[in-house]
């Protein structure tokens, strides 16, 4: 490979660059080291100087595409700007996060470029080429994929599958790009953002997830799990049985037809461990299961299990964690 660049497309929110973007940067670095090329980031927006600065402390080169019409996300305007820049600079690999946003516009970008795109990767191996790993068939199998020759290659990676370390001591160069955008380029306008208000982190970025199943017996009992997740600074999740019963909205569901998560610690309370549930959480680093049935399949994949009534275990566990933290 020549000295062409490997790009990351950065994602951010009000608080700054998203964790998942730092992870893509570490993936890009690995590839860049191997191929002896440079890595760079692209960021799109308007009036986000502070966020761009944060990025420039980590990478040598930042392309900052700035325009008032980029103040709000729209897939078509993003694709238009990125397509132009890619045509100008010819990067060899483009990496983005498989977040909701990444999943929305990256397919469109790859169609406009007519180039290869492998989505939702969880890892890669470098041998005679890059071999990307992703789950298929609802998490039951793992596929290895390869790009055919044409470039650029586009990869999205699943959040929390790559480690990242921020150095924060680079003084990156920021290249300002002023795209030609018009109002008509916006195809989908965001009217309103309805964030679930609360202090808990989002499922896909949380280090800790405390998840409840049918064993929780009712919506009101989830208070208990909220309390446990709060002492751990985590998020609350659920099995499909809980969502189907209407105890929590679908956005809490973890599994094949819900969110796929990979936290450092996953605590399953009153969840039997059906294959479709495991498909959404079996890549968690450490799994704890609390279930009164010693034969529940969840124990087959849990690192630690307690066979007991969760309504007795969880309150004691909360107290023990509080004690351990002081």
């Amino acid at each position: 490979m020549s000295n062409k660049e490997i790009w990351v497309i950065a994602e951010y929110e009000n608080e700054g660059i998203k964790k998942s973007t730092w992870e893509t940067i570490s993936a890009a670095r690995k590839l860049a080291n191997h191929f002896g090329t440079k890595s760079a980031a692209v960021i799109l927006g308007n009036g986000i100087k502070g966020i761009v600065e944060e990025l420039s402390k980590e990478l040598d080169l930042i392309y900052f595409i700035e325009h008032p019409l980029l103040a709000k996300y729209d897939s078509n305007t993003y694709v238009k700007c990125l397509h132009q820049l890619i045509k100008d600079k010819n990067p060899v690999i483009i990496i983005a996060s498989a977040t909701f946003r990444g999943k929305d516009y990256i397919p469109r970008l790859s169609a406009r470029l007519n180039c290869g795109f492998i989505s939702d990767c969880v890892g890669f191996e470098i041998k005679e080429g890059i071999f990307l790993k992703r789950y298929v068939y609802g998490g039951r199998l793992m596929a290895t994929l390869k790009f055919e020759e044409s470039k650029p290659w586009i990869i999205t990676i699943r959040p929390r599958c790559f480690e990242y370390k921020r150095s924060g001591n680079v003084k990156g160069e920021v290249l300002h790009i002023k795209p030609a955008l018009e109002q008509q380029d916006i195809m989908v306008t965001i009217q309103e953002s309805l964030k679930e208000t609360g202090k808990r982190p989002d499922l896909s970025e949380s280090n800790v997830i405390v998840s409840g199943g049918r064993g929780m017996k009712g919506a009101a009992n989830f208070k208990l799990l909220e309390e446990l997740s709060d002492v751990l600074g985590g998020a609350v999740g659920a099995s499909r049985a809980v969502v189907d019963a209407g105890w929590l909205p679908h956005s809490f569901q973890i599994g094949q037809t819900g969110r796929v998560v990979s936290p450092t610690l996953y605590i399953a309370c009153g969840i039997s461990g059906a294959p479709q549930h495991l498909a959404g959480m079996s890549t968690s680093k450490c799994i704890v299961a609390i279930n009164k049935d010693p034969n529940a399949p969840i124990f087959k994949i849990a690192d630690y299990g307690i066979v007991d009534d969760l309504f007795k275990v969880v309150p004691v566990l909360i107290e023990e964690i509080k004690r351990a933290k002081t």
């Binding site: 897939s75 909701f100 946003r101 999943k103 929305d104 516009y105 397919p107 469109r108 790859s110 169609a111 290869g116 795109f117 989505s119 939702d120 071999f131 789950y135 298929v136 068939y137 609802g138 998490g139 039951r140 199998l141 793992m142 596929a143 290895t144 790009f147 055919e148 044409s150 989908v188 306008t189 965001i190 953002s193 309805l194 964030k195 679930e196 989002d202 499922l203 909205p249 679908h250 956005s251 610690l265 479709q276 450490c286 010693p294 124990f299 087959k300 994949i301 690192d303 630690y304 299990g305 307690i306 007991d308 007795k312 275990v313 004691v316 566990l317 107290e319 023990e320 351990a324 933290k325």
Partner: protein
């Protein structure tokens, strides 16, 4: 209202899947095939739009003869046309090729709304709907949980899922929407629907007639291997009674540096 639904057939992942000896694909003999679960939400939403505004539904799929079963179930669920774009090769197509083919066929049909599933549960690429929209140069809203179409103003309002919440978005029609779970609750086919499905003719199209260059349909990615994911080590049950079990658990979690 002219509605198009893109439907895919997938293996039922509720059963154990076996990898073929060459480790490139799964064994496809004697396994159950179903409509991609997300496409069930798409066809249900199509029915609701048709009930509300009138019009018709065309169900389209790229696949071999076997997939006609799934197309027939779309007819039973209210589709007025069922189109199979013939693809007898057993080779997997990537989403880019599939969406090029679908867009080319859709181009020649009238449409206001195109509905797809959010992703197919076999390969889970989650790309096809967005790519169809790009080839047709129309908007796409992905992973929607609510759709309100207004034929008079020719636009649509949707809820789409984002990390930690929802976004309310608006776009003009025609547009592509990809269905997320929560959009609706799919119904079962009616008896009259099932009868209709038995009789109706499925339209068959040849890819060759769509005017592609061979290079347009060359895959850009390739599966080199399929494997069973690494098994997690079975852990240990912490024996004993409360509060000792909870204490022991916390000690272990601290030692493993996860809390």
């Amino acid at each position: 209202m002219k509605i198009i639904v893109c439907i895919k057939e997938v293996p039922d992942t509720a059963i154990g899947l076996k990898i073929r000896d060459d480790s490139h694909e799964i064994e496809t003999e004697n396994i159950p095939w179903i409509m991609n679960p997300y496409d069930e939400y798409a066809i249900e939403e199509a029915q609701r739009l048709k009930e509300k505004f009138g019009g018709d539904i065309a169900a389209i799929t790229v696949g071999n003869e076997r997939v006609e079963t799934v197309l027939r179930s779309c007819i039973a669920l209210g589709a007025d046309r069922a189109i199979r774009i013939k693809d007898d090769s057993l080779k997997k197509k990537d989403s880019l090729i599939t969406s090029k083919i679908l867009a080319e066929v859709i181009r020649n049909i009238e449409y206001d709304v195109i509905l797809c599933g959010k992703e197919s549960v076999d390969y889970g690429y989650a790309q096809t709907g967005q790519m169809i929209a790009e080839f047709l140069q129309i908007p796409c809203v992905s992973a929607i949980k609510k759709l309100e179409v207004s034929p008079s103003t020719k636009d649509a309002m949707c809820h789409r899922e984002i990390e930690g919440g929802l976004e309310v978005v608006k776009c003009s029609l025609p547009a592509v929407f990809t269905a997320q779970k929560g959009l609706n609750v799919p119904r079962y086919a009616s008896l009259s629907g099932i009868m209709k499905a038995k009789k109706m003719k499925i339209e068959i199209l040849e890819i060759d007639t769509l005017g592609f260059n061979p290079s347009d349909l060359k895959p850009k990615i390739r599966v080199t291997n399929l494997s069973y994911p690494p098994k997690r080590q079975e852990g240990r049950i912490i024996e004993g009674t409360l509060p000792d079990t909870a204490k022991e658990l916390v000690r272990n979690l601290k030692e493993a540096r996860v809390i």
